[in-house]
Amino acid sequence: MPSVTDVVDYLIRKGVDFCDARLESRGTLRIEVVNSEIRAISSNEQRGLAIRVLINGVWGYASTTRLDKESIREAAEKAFKAAKVLAERAGRKKILLNSIVRTEEAKPRILIHPWEVPLSEKLDVLFSINKVQKEYSEKIVNVTTNYHERIDHYELANSLGSLLVWDEIRLSVSSASIAREAGKMQYSFMRKSGTRGFELLKELNPEEGRKVSEEAVKLLSAKKPPAGYLTVIADPSVAGVLAHEVMGHASEADEVIKKRSFLTGIIGERVGSELVTMVDDGTLNGAYGSIPFDSEGTPSSRTVIINKGVYTSYLHSLETASLMRVEPTGNGRAQDFNRRVFVRMTNTFFEPGEWSFDEIISDTKEGLLALKSIGGMEDPVGGGFQTTVLMGYIIKNGELTDLVRGFTLSGKALEILKTVDAVSKEFRLEGGHCGKGEEDYVPVSIGGPYMRAKMLVGGG
């Protein structure tokens, strides 16, 4: 099989402005335990070569899973031809990419490689959590526990001279319990994940499964949440959605360059209270979104997006950094060899503050504690925040009172951030997968502290 540098050398000889070749191998294992029985054990391996060619500001991509010389040559020709055909019609200017050139090999910082752990040991952990979930109450009608491991190997070369080899290892375990009573159904869930080895599962207390079932049962008798413009204490998952979906996606420089982002031209302006500092950091040890290099070979970095309420930086790929004449930030990422590289986040979060959680609650006369975000959606144009949460508590005179069932939080992000008046020391990151425009999923984490702000509440 030709090496990634052979492909790059071949394309350089054809005459390109820039090119790179990225060989990806991915191995995954998924296990699903349902009601104390195995529902599925499936494993997948995929290997493919992604080739990119840049000519006059336009990209041609091709990929192949056939790695013989002829197939790779064919893919390189397809990428070259696509760039040529599109460049003739697009009428764009040449872009000179400024890549950090290096030759390096990076290994993941883990303790126990998942491939060294027998399947039976993985199953034992899952069964023990699943059992605790199920045994909590007769009202629990369904319990699911999932395990997912993903081992990636990358080799990348580009026409500027970089040659990189690196591995990424990710694990996650999640649980969900469904409770049923008198025709009503509710559920709860938990998820632990990271760029970590099997030590992640060894540290997991199966009793966390009990909490999941307990929440599902409690939600059966939860009250209807209030609606309106309310004081909300967002938990780290909700704060993370605000950081990632609204402020984060709008900070992706590809959206800024074409003026799709509501944050276009906002560097140096105040966008939140002094308590608000927001960061994208791909270097965090163990976080699910951490990467040694992005899909273009740029080392990951820590980018302070908002510093004490003042907007400071966008996130960049090689192309956007070149167009905006700044350094790339290591945020050019692709789902896999079949998908394009564009600006994506890594670990995106608000920094913790100085309040304790208890202090924030006792300081709140009337409000709503929002717990466990179950998703949100980007709005880089309008800057609208939206997330649905699983549950919450009404706060009255500094105390948590009634449990309420799921509701939706909404509002204009910039207005919400300006109302932030308390930020906790307690801080948490949660791993997951981010899509941009409803697809192109990459591993990320989101999070932050507990944050108090004003938001629109509805649903439930």
């Binding site: 009601n35 029985e37 195995i38 054990i41 499936s42 494993s43 391996e45 995929q46 493919g48 336009v58 990209w59 041609g60 991509y61 899973t65 790695l67 013989d68 893919a75 397809k78 696509a82 760039a83 055909v85 599109l86 027998p118 399947l119 039976s120 369904n142 025709g183 009503k184 159904m185 509710q186 559920y187 609606a227 590809d254 959206e255 360059i257 074409k258 060899f337 079949n338 998908r339 394009r340 179950i374 998703g375 949100g376 959606m377 709005d379 144009v381 309008g382 609208g384 939206q386 649905t388 069932r405 799921g406 939706t408 909404s410 509002g411 425009g437 629109l456 509440v457 649903g459 439930g460």
Partner: protein
Amino acid sequence: MGIDLHELSDYALEISKADQTEVFSIKATMRNYYIDDGVVTIGTDNTWVGVGVKSIIKKKIGYFSKTIHKKREVEGIVEKSLEIAKTSPSDEKFTSLPSPEKISGNVEGVYDENTAQADPGEIVENLVTFLESAQREGVKVMNGFLRISVFEFVVKNSLGVDFSHKGTLVYLFATAKKEMGEGIIKRFSTSLKGINYQEAGEDLFERTKLASSARAFKGVKEVDAIIAPMEAAGILSVIPTAASGELINRRASPWINKLGQEIASKDLTVIDDGRLPGGLRSALADDEGVPTTKKPIIESGILKNYLFDTYNAGIAGTKSTGNGFRRGVTSIEDAHTRPVSCEASNVIIQAGNKDLQDLISETDEGVLIYKFAYPQVDPISGNFGLEVRNAVLIENGSAETAIKHAILAGNIYTALRNISGLGKQQYFIENFLVPYIRFSKLQLVGL
């Protein structure tokens, strides 16, 4: 690509030492043409062959899949699948892989040779038509893509199932911006010519222009909500989810023991049709080689059928309904990596007899919603609170004021009983064929 899927599958079955073996293999090409800032800036061309092997040894099940580049690699796939099966606990609920059944009839409009062979120039021409139609009066297309997937899959098992199918899928997605307003459109077809690029561009222009004039909604009120097909398909995806034989077996569906009972308005009929002409999931058989069928999930408000693959049908003591799927509809990439699960084939929400203007003029106090942030509904409780991003308020039968920044709240299982109008024209949205739908008695919450 020079790999014969039939030969490869036969070889895998021949060398497998399992009690039962199933081989799913797929050969696919996916081409994407991305639009950025009003220009087609990226062209991609990806090809792959993927194989998934399920092995069963004394009710122990193993599944392993891999992308391959030569036939002999299936040896490793079979070996790993057997290894997983051997180390798995036995699944006493497993009965058998499907036995072969006679597959007859035909299915139209699933593969288009012209689409499979289209050259980049022709594809870009379609996008140019689309862009010219959408971009005027300050409206600019920000993001988008036209995706063409061409695939052939073969599924065989050791009991004699032998089915193959080839198809083409086309997906156009685009967002456009004018001032602070954003419009979004999606179009689905099984051929390039099945999409009207001029019309799609005009629709995007209209959606964007409307969004740019929207004001934040204020207050709280009960409304009748007319939901456009693109979003109705999203929230109505709870129907095949709640009817999934897998969720029924797990007792995780609110529709357990409700066959024959009224669960929706009598105006609602929902059909699962595996052979719908032009349907994105249409084929003579499902992804485990069981013949597809046409059957009502809901008929005049009555729950009529659950959807089963072979595994879950075995648990429930019934037959597969031809609803074992692993293929996606917006992209075909991961089909071989996923074991089969109970999913809808093509979902037809039966049309009503009203055009959109009728639905609007009959509504005293309501909202016409073109776009939510994301049409996500909790399938367990049915609760939803959806952020409205592109909508028009209706007052006394007239839709005039564009709004945004509001939450539409309710419970989908209650809302299904409160359907008060269905449009007469249906639209393909992924594997749904769906009209405009009016739900009564929902709550609209603003600032």
